[in-house]
């Protein structure tokens, strides 16, 4: 009995630690969003509670004096375009690397992954030449062009191991059952890889949403900024941080992603562990 209580308390204790760890940032963002600046900067005030009456001044600053909704929209549009491009390129690439290229598949796959390891801090200089050569400076299209350079290799790699986990037998069975190669792909392989593709969608969207370097170097106009640079360039003026508005913006921007992850959590986990098909 005592043992049971002990093991239960370990379980809930551990759960509590993780809960605090993952919920605390959201709580701080939420509370800071409504804090008066005087309250926020008072060193004697309890940082975890509203010591003065809440205010909407930060949200007013965020929505009425910056282009925050525009930043959100830009991020969403770029994210959408990049996700579509990534899926269209990474799925066929991953299938062919996993199935058709034989021994070459492995090394080419590793080669593709290596390109992901070159940091954007190095790449943005040559890429800015490319962007200006194409006349895309200061346009969202520059990001749509550049972001797939890191989403495609990463997602190809992820999907490749996913496709490898789908038994070859099942595809060959489809061939015997009357499908062409393309038919087998569409009727059997793709339905089985939905968890993998969802994982790729969510991952590449998140990668795009928090990308900073490229957006900062290619975009100057406020109206074209994405959330990551929009917030940090418009709400940090010199050495003045508009904490309330920053936190509010961060919270609002992170909620859709959190919801997205929660909805697809099971699918994402089975996508990463490939537990769905292997039996």
């Amino acid at each position: 009995m005592l043992k049971k209580i002990f093991s239960k308390s370990y379980f809930y204790g551990g759960l509590g630690v993780f809960l605090v760890f993952s919920a605390a940032p959201f709580y701080i963002m939420l509370i800071t969003m409504f804090k008066r600046s005087h309250d926020l900067f008072g060193p004697t005030n309890n940082p975890f509670w509203l010591n003065e009456a809440p205010t909407l001044e930060h949200l007013d600053l965020l929505f009425n004096q910056t282009l925050f909704p525009r930043f959100l929209l830009n991020t969403f549009l770029v994210g959408l375009a990049v996700v579509v491009i990534t899926v269209l390129l990474a799925v066929p690439a991953a299938i062919s690397l996993a199935r058709l290229a034989g021994r070459w598949g492995e090394s080419v796959g590793i080669g593709i992954f290596l390109t992901y390891l070159i940091p954007p801090t190095l790449l943005f200089i040559p890429l800015s030449r490319v962007v200006s050569f194409l006349g895309l400076q200061n346009s969202l299209w520059s990001l749509v062009l550049v972001y797939p350079t890191f989403t495609v290799p990463f997602c190809t790699w992820l999907l490749m191991s996913f496709f490898k986990s789908i038994p070859k037998d099942i595809e060959e069975q489809a061939l015997v059952d009357g499908c062409s190669r393309i038919g087998a792909m569409a009727r059997v392989l793709l339905p089985l890889s939905v968890p993998g593709i969802i994982t790729v969608v969510v991952f590449s969207f998140t990668l795009v949403a928090h990308e900073y370097i490229y957006a900062l170097s290619f975009i100057q106009d406020s109206a074209n900024k994405t959330i990551g640079i929009g917030m940090t360039t418009e709400l940090v003026r010199g050495d003045v941080f508009y904490w309330g508005a920053l936190m509010g913006g961060a919270l609002i921007a992170s909620i859709p992603v959190a919801v997205l992850y929660t909805i697809f959590l099971d699918r994402i986990i089975s996508g990463m562990t490939m537990s769905d098909v292997r039996r």
Binding site: P167, D169, I170, E172, Q173, A174, L175, V176, D177, G178, C179, S180, G183, R187, V188, P191, L192, D276, V277, R279
Partner: protein, 333 residues
């Protein structure tokens, strides 16, 4: 229904001769078993017939037409994989109906055909389940129903029983044979299990290193082996071999009996040093040596054979097979 002819079939993988020149003719409605150890090329041969591999050389003829360049879907074949390869995202009904759906058959006809196949295999009550929620034996039936639903010309089966429990396997074998007779489909069946091969096959082709070492009825494979490989591979425990007068002499464990069992027949008497006796209930295995050759005897006499002592055993002359020591080929008198 169709016959299958293979002429000079070869398949080389980067220098490895997986299938090395096979000629084979399978009659309409015949149940042919490809038997061999792993790596003997039996599965590759089946995949060649299915069209999942392209032959390096030779011709595959199904129902009078050369199918070398046809994709699997145009060969009129169906296949049951060792893993059953059920589509995990489709129900049992969706699995069985898949070949018909791909063909674009009207929905009503599909229902009828699926009902027929499911009835044949006794899985009508499972149609709404997902493959993950049916047992191993039922999965195998689903796979067979899916293979049969299109009424293939040739049915290919790659070790379909090897994933089943030993107990279920016996009944499954029996049923497999029964419905194969019932629908009379030309069948090629790959296995490394000789009990399956002997029990199911109208004929057995014993394969080794990409070639067929002998092809014939189960009886002729067992009792009239063409070479030492077949003699040693078929039979549990394997055939005993001894050197005698510059020849290899072989006899089955069940032919090597204590002399008491063969009182006054035309027999070869041998002194066997008993090393160990295994009592398996219905019969006893005696492990020992004759001269310097290790042998196994299989008898069902209630006899006390003390370990470490010699006992007189005998083999009747008609049970002895002789082989050439260099080539391993059978030497017939």
């Amino acid at each position: 229904m169709a016959n299958v002819q293979l002429a000079g079939i070869k398949k080389h993988f980067e220098g490895v001769k997986a299938v090395d020149g096979i000629d084979l003719e399978i009659a309409d409605g015949e149940f042919l078993v490809l038997l061999g150890p792993s790596g003997s090329g039996k599965t590759t041969l089946m995949r060649l017939v299915a069209g999942l591999e392209k032959p390096t050389g030779g011709h595959i003829v199904i129902d009078g037409a050369v199918v070398n360049d046809l994709p699997p879907r145009d060969r009129g074949i169906a296949m049951v994989f060792q893993s059953y390869a059920l589509y995990p995202h489709k129900t049992v009904f969706g699995n069985i109906s898949f070949p018909l759906t791909v063909e674009g058959m009207p929905r009503e006809d599909i229902k009828k055909k699926v009902a027929w196949a499911a009835g044949l295999l006794g899985i009508g009550h499972l149609l709404d389940r997902m493959p993950a929620h049916v047992s191993g034996g039922e999965r195998q039936r689903v796979a067979i129903a899916r293979a049969l639903v299109r009424r293939p010309k040739v049915l290919l089966m790659d070790e379909p029983l090897s994933n089943l429990d030993a107990k279920v396997r016996h009944t499954a074998r029996e049923e497999l044979k029964l419905f194969q007779r019932e629908i009379n489909v030309t069948t090629i069946y790959v296995t490394h299990d000789q009990a399956e091969a002997m029990g199911l096959g109208d004929r057995i082709a014993v394969m080794h290193e990409g070639t067929i070492r002998q092809i014939g009825t189960p009886d002729s494979i067992y009792n009239d082996p063409a070479n030492m490989f077949v003699a040693g591979f078929v039979g549990i425990p394997p055939m005993n071999f001894m050197e005698q007068d510059g020849m290899i002499v072989g006899f089955r464990p069940e032919a090597l009996l204590p002399a008491e069992a063969l009182p006054d027949k035309d027999c070869m008497r041998l002194r066997l040093l008993v090393e160990r006796v295994e009592d398996l209930g219905s019969h006893r295995l005696v492990y020992g040596t004759i001269g310097k050759d290790k042998v196994i005897a299989n008898h069902s006499l209630r006899l006390n054979l003390p370990e470490g002592e010699e006992h007189e055993f005998a083999v009747c002359s008609q049970e002895v097979r002789r082989f050439d020591p260099k080539t391993g080929v059978r030497v017939r008198p």
